[in-house]
Symmetry: C2
Subunit: 293 residues, 2 copies
Amino acid sequence: LAALALVCAVPAMALTTAEILDAAPASDWAEIAPDRLMVMDLAPDSEGKPRQVLIQLMEPPLSVGHVANIQTLARAHWWDGTSVNRVQDNYVVQWGDATEKKPLPPGLATIPESAYTLPVAALASAIHPAWSWRDTYAVKVGFVRGFPVASDGARVWPTHCYGLVGVGRSLSPDTGSGAELYVTIGHARPLDRNIAVVGRVVKGIEYLSALPRGTGTLGFYEDPAQRVAITRVRLASDLPAGERPRFKVIATESKSFAQIVALRANRKDDFFFAPAGAVDVCNTLPTVRQIEP
Amino acid sequence: LAALALVCAVPAMALTTAEILDAAPASDWAEIAPDRLMVMDLAPDSEGKPRQVLIQLMEPPLSVGHVANIQTLARAHWWDGTSVNRVQDNYVVQWGDATEKKPLPPGLATIPESAYTLPVAALASAIHPAWSWRDTYAVKVGFVRGFPVASDGARVWPTHCYGLVGVGRSLSPDTGSGAELYVTIGHARPLDRNIAVVGRVVKGIEYLSALPRGTGTLGFYEDPAQRVAITRVRLASDLPAGERPRFKVIATESKSFAQIVALRANRKDDFFFAPAGAVDVCNTLPTVRQIEP
């Protein structure tokens, strides 16, 4: 009877994730707006191969002020000539101006820490209603416009999942301009609500996550020669039309996404015989596909 | 009042983790037995630097059969000349015999999947009693003899936390001999109960987690030249006395460990202003310190 229950939870004829995605109507996909797609070129690797990282910036009402600052910084070409300076195993990879002396462009706003979270009322209808699994760090979790979020019932905030990008800051919580960025490559959920989350790496995370770990405090590179040069950062909208990469994300409010989440939570196939019956909000981020020219 | 409550949760005079560890009595530490400490040497890196990975194998009653097989394989020097063959981003790094033709040593047992979990009664007294935070994948989580575990109330199993080592297998659940091993470098909790967990990398995980990601199916290296050679694997007990590394682990049943867990769950300091009030079982693995000769 127990075996039968498992089989019934995920019928043998269930679609695979790939099949669900392939069958999803165009309306279940959302293209990333070109002014919210950041293209970061690192210096080529030791074999001369290019390394490009693509970052999706959040849409309103999430992290509005910080995202606007980041767009300003990208349009000012501020990151050109900066570097990846910190790689802390099972935590974050961080980039920006290692000298901490490069002047910032005009027009950056100071964002208070109150902007790290939003009132539930602003987002309630957008949080995926079917999501009811336990989460260690929050009362409720779900997705808003493609991004994982958590809530304590009163406020909602984006979560530090693998691949999510946040804004480095000094001790005072309002000091993160957006110039210093990091991507989560491990356990970083305790940073939730303590720092602004602004985006997600949608392609090329391996060029950051597989970098040598820094041996200094917090994983900073001790030898400046270890830093990885950032040659260029642009918004896709500022690239020539023929050079703009395009990506689409499965809409987290769509039926297709709900099917994928249910499938991942009850994974049972030729290999998996003991389905978990739940899935971590960080372990079912929406699929991203590149749109070929 | 809210601010006061936070301050009271972690008094300003609270010890830091380092202070708790430094003050812990010797009885709060447990040395890893030399026959449960596996020393894996990879070929030197491109700059000629040595790469050594240290793996702690579980103690009874956890994963007894698989650990015995792994000790047999190490004593037979079976891994010498094998390689790291698979690096899947945000998932696992796997090593073993890429040819899948190397004969196994005699004396390996076939372990059924029933051994992936244990009855709660066998372990109940050892699960940290103060642990009561929510977990997405289980009803209860905690630690047994230095290792993170989860439970559904009836059975207990070791969890796929970052750095934990498991036994690769074919589709049939009893096919994992222990010869094919992997370490978790990302989200792998859905593997819980589907595969045997046998140990934990206690030093040198960066030599595995920072390897280039494989571009083949499941992150396997497509070009055999990309594989990373394993030159030698030994149990510390089989090394000459002067070459044996020694490590101690803070005992997960100790008062010191309980203090550290509480501190991590309520982190509040010059940087963190919004304590989570909980911590993932995988984000507070017991501290390991090398014992200097």
